[in-house]
Symmetry: D2
Subunit: 389 residues, 4 copies
Amino acid sequence: MQVIERGRGIGIGLIGSGFMGRAHALAFRNVGGVFPLAVQPRLEILADTPEQRAIEAATSFGFARATGDWTELVRDPAIDLVAITTPNRLHAPIALAAIEAGKHVYCEKPLATTLADAIAMEGAAKAAGIVTMVGFNYLKNPIIDTAREIVRSGEIGEITGFRGIHAEDFMADPEAQFSWRCEPEQAGGALADIGSHILSMARSLLGEVESVCGRLDTIHGERPLPDGSRRAVGVDDQANMLVRFAGRPFTASISASWLASGRDMQLAFEISGTRGALSFTQERFNELRFYKTGQPTGRKGFTTINAGPAHGDYAAFCPAPGHQIGFNDLKTIEVRRLLDAVAGKAPSDADFGDALMITRVMEAVRLSSQRQRWVALSEIDGALSSRSQ
Amino acid sequence: MQVIERGRGIGIGLIGSGFMGRAHALAFRNVGGVFPLAVQPRLEILADTPEQRAIEAATSFGFARATGDWTELVRDPAIDLVAITTPNRLHAPIALAAIEAGKHVYCEKPLATTLADAIAMEGAAKAAGIVTMVGFNYLKNPIIDTAREIVRSGEIGEITGFRGIHAEDFMADPEAQFSWRCEPEQAGGALADIGSHILSMARSLLGEVESVCGRLDTIHGERPLPDGSRRAVGVDDQANMLVRFAGRPFTASISASWLASGRDMQLAFEISGTRGALSFTQERFNELRFYKTGQPTGRKGFTTINAGPAHGDYAAFCPAPGHQIGFNDLKTIEVRRLLDAVAGKAPSDADFGDALMITRVMEAVRLSSQRQRWVALSEIDGALSSRSQ
Amino acid sequence: MQVIERGRGIGIGLIGSGFMGRAHALAFRNVGGVFPLAVQPRLEILADTPEQRAIEAATSFGFARATGDWTELVRDPAIDLVAITTPNRLHAPIALAAIEAGKHVYCEKPLATTLADAIAMEGAAKAAGIVTMVGFNYLKNPIIDTAREIVRSGEIGEITGFRGIHAEDFMADPEAQFSWRCEPEQAGGALADIGSHILSMARSLLGEVESVCGRLDTIHGERPLPDGSRRAVGVDDQANMLVRFAGRPFTASISASWLASGRDMQLAFEISGTRGALSFTQERFNELRFYKTGQPTGRKGFTTINAGPAHGDYAAFCPAPGHQIGFNDLKTIEVRRLLDAVAGKAPSDADFGDALMITRVMEAVRLSSQRQRWVALSEIDGALSSRSQ
Amino acid sequence: MQVIERGRGIGIGLIGSGFMGRAHALAFRNVGGVFPLAVQPRLEILADTPEQRAIEAATSFGFARATGDWTELVRDPAIDLVAITTPNRLHAPIALAAIEAGKHVYCEKPLATTLADAIAMEGAAKAAGIVTMVGFNYLKNPIIDTAREIVRSGEIGEITGFRGIHAEDFMADPEAQFSWRCEPEQAGGALADIGSHILSMARSLLGEVESVCGRLDTIHGERPLPDGSRRAVGVDDQANMLVRFAGRPFTASISASWLASGRDMQLAFEISGTRGALSFTQERFNELRFYKTGQPTGRKGFTTINAGPAHGDYAAFCPAPGHQIGFNDLKTIEVRRLLDAVAGKAPSDADFGDALMITRVMEAVRLSSQRQRWVALSEIDGALSSRSQ
């Protein structure tokens, strides 16, 4: 009988224990069993308010300690990496404090509630040389890795079109309650909340955005509060955009809506090339519809590929095709890439710089909607370049 | 044994015998067996060039006479209705001549190759009081009739979103040959050729367009000629549009592309309302995906409805659900509505006025793309109003 | 202007004007416009009872004469071909009379209500040397022609499995009324009524049946009559079969049910080979799902092929892929093959001999269900061989 | 800052570290973060041969100790529960030893390689009063929990039909190598290996099997060995069955094949009732197609339900619908139910008794195939009842 020795590992401090806090915790627990890691994560401290909530979450998720004060967590010497899953407006102060304390930072999207904050955070992280990761988890899907390879390798020829959407229906009912998602100061709105996912997906496939022409609509101008009164909604319910990418000859059509009745998770796109096409929806995210020209006469059509060991990180979860990974597994892949970046094995594939680019695009869409004209990303760069002065 | 007496019926003159000419001929032959008609069509004259082609087509389609000269057909006293399936640039002269001769006119889309021609045709038809029909056949689909009823009745609540596309791939290969479709004078381009279908579909569901912001892209700037030389393409390969409809609170996203590799006939849309949604694609045009809020907990989802006798004109083709109608049957429905209009039973549901509205929208999209800004349809109305002076 | 001369053509006498009578009439009207024919059909006499119904149908379908007495039709010298769409129990007497009169016969399925009748009809037709066709229309689907070619050419290797079903729900409600379909003397029952379709489909793909092991279930033993009383059901609601085909190494699984709630037209199969597979459902009968081994790593999957001009007779209806044919078009193809057989261009692909083979298989299934054991088709051959003595 | 106290928990000994060993390890690691547990599992010992492999697996999965000798693990006082993921022939000796040592047992399917062993294991477990669980993980799917509720509650009326399959293609190539799966002594064959899944699924929905009529086919009689020689295959490639369930009025059709080219994981069924139907495939196991009679005219169809918090244990993984769980999550649910059973909170829902019933059904299918007739389960009961004497 051999007793297994374990290293100290990397100390994880998790702030927040809601939907995303739980997903982070599960991923940190699970990742070592799924992937061979250079360093194992150690679940050190969980912070939430009130403290009792933190204690309960720490107990069930397996953290060693709990606190009601996130500043305590950020300062703790046992912590190497701070994971932020708090309300959006706290992202900036916590991240900046963590960076100042020399911790690596894993932050849920959106990076910040203002472009200025996002710029500050990106600058601070770069200056400190710490590793960052932002939770654009849908990009971690193994079959999306394959989609990216297909696009980049030229397997479907030159790309000539892209049409994408992120549609859900959780605000489709005009009587759905007013929440933080309805406040611009909280980075609410369909564009920020879910549009950021399809924009980051498009960017990961097609490269940087060059210009946009967008239109934001607030269809339901008021929503009820718990006390029965109504409050004006300050954000968009829906965003429709024409988007140009640097060096690409076509205009993409991209939409986001949280009014799309019947849709739970339609993060979907179709990308066309001169020699093929890809069609994907997160509703069936273990599938990729693939078309390649040159099929024999009478055998033309889209092929439905099931995710399997041939695709990205799938094999780490299951050696057999068609068994499928789940949403939480996407988060496990994200955490693996984060830990690899911390270990210096590979750069972060979704760092604060990437998140800042998405923030800029959204800012450009808002400006375009106000001015009712096309806006180049370089118009937004004014704000960016001012930071380096 | 009873001998069946038949009336003289309505004399049909068909000009053109290609894809659409044949579809018209089949529809005129078939319609009397499918629908109870006030007057039966009589296949009188088929015109095409050269005359030999007309003779062969008349023989196989069942026309009584054939000619190589369409003016002869238009003038013939046995002709009551002229069906035009010629190259687009002939639509205007033939239609105007037919109207002048007092014939009813059934014209394939696009109505004309210029807005001025379209205006002239619409004006002449109205002045002459003849019946017109333009071949937006996809609107005749029985399940689309149901979709319209669902939208109009409020069954899915107030409409809050629309996303539509018409994508095919017949020009996806950069080496696909230059053809009349590549010439603006022939009303070529993805917007005119197929975008007109999704625009007419959107209009039939949502009403008149108010303003547009569009972008036309010519991805493949040159295409080969049969002799191996290359010719510059003067039309769009792809059109992406943001569209506002009169009295609607949302922005629609509409696209057209003939570069969409792998797509044979993706004329598709999703329409969202506060209490439900519809999703449709011509690729499976005997199906409608229908969502309605209020399903019991745990039973929420889109229902896939198969076309059946409960939907529009389906029952005329088959008394059992799920048996499916085909493309040519859509044309038969179109001809039935045309003949009903001629018989005075119901107005034409796609007359020159309707086609003119689509022509105006496309004109607005072109202007918007040139000026890179939103264009109101009323800006196009200048041209329209000038005709009445 | 050229006047088109027309030959006398082949005189059609149609008996019955219900669902199938109408489908026959439409097909005869339409077929000459769709296909180049050696001889055109001439709609001569329509028979139905009462005569008034025949007159109305003849008027709307375009027949020259009408009668209430089918024997008059069968004897008429202007009739070359008799099409039978009457209740099943009349198939045998009408067909035998028509054969005796030297007419070609086109008969709806089932061929007869007893095996003995089917044997007699097949024998008489063969002896008379007339052309016969039985209405297994689903086999005429262009994409099914492609499926057959794929199976026969070895494109998917040696066939190793087949699983098929025909499921509908028109009797799913235990309170669905008793009708002729519930009477064995009318050749009622799920096996005969719809099971015959999947059996003929399987046979057309795999060849002759060798032995069967089946089980027939009558789930709802009584059904209501219009007067509110209840009558015992004498036929099966459901048939499940294990089937062996001559020279094939595998056992097929085939089912038929008219209790399949929610199913309008699930005539479906999957056929597996050592190098590929096909999956089909009549619910989307313009599609064929096709799998072929040897796809590149990570690109494996079923390809959804849309019916197009590359498949069988599709091109005669439409030159563009993805436009789709409908149920009535299947009947048009059937009539075209019938007329080609009459013209001596090709043998009938579904003659009385083919229908007799299906009748024998159903007889074997019934015997197997009674005896609760496997039954070889050769056991049924006793009845067959007795006829030639 | 609060330090979290943890109890001793339940000591887990895992034997085997392949596909299933890994899945067990992940589930034990993960389960405490997902579900609130009465007692937490403690990853105590991992056994595999050679020992080095055990050490590596223990290190990556997080076990405290490793051994090359499973008997050591079984005897270890720190072990409360033994998880068996070894080759099938070791299931019986290990399980019997573990039961003798008073440990709870979690065993992968198939329970044993012979019916006699299965009977002995079931008897020993019952006598010892320990908790058992067998790995029919597909039954743990939250949407399958919903399917069961729908069937049991009568929501779709009286059940009138069932058609099921488990098809994969990993042996479709005739040149796929001979392996333990080709040996009957290893409980190989399509029926045992994958057919057991669809049989257990059917049983969980419909209750106990009463009689069967099956046919096993060995299509590829020889397969190559690594050295290039060929060895005769002693098991079935394909099983097709007619199945009757106690108290059910219909015959089910159930198939299993590992020759189904193109299929990765088609564990699929359709269940029909007098007032609705369910259709499911493991290929999209976060979806359930649901049909209910009584929809308004023209709105009839199957509804595609996405798994969400309203379904079974889904909410424990994710609070939002449509996000999807993965294969490993099914295993986590299984382990949760195992640990709840150990804690006395609920009985095991797939114990050795359940697995024995499936073993009996498979034995009856084999007997039926040999004798080419129906076999009642009571014929197999002879063997069972002998044990209690």
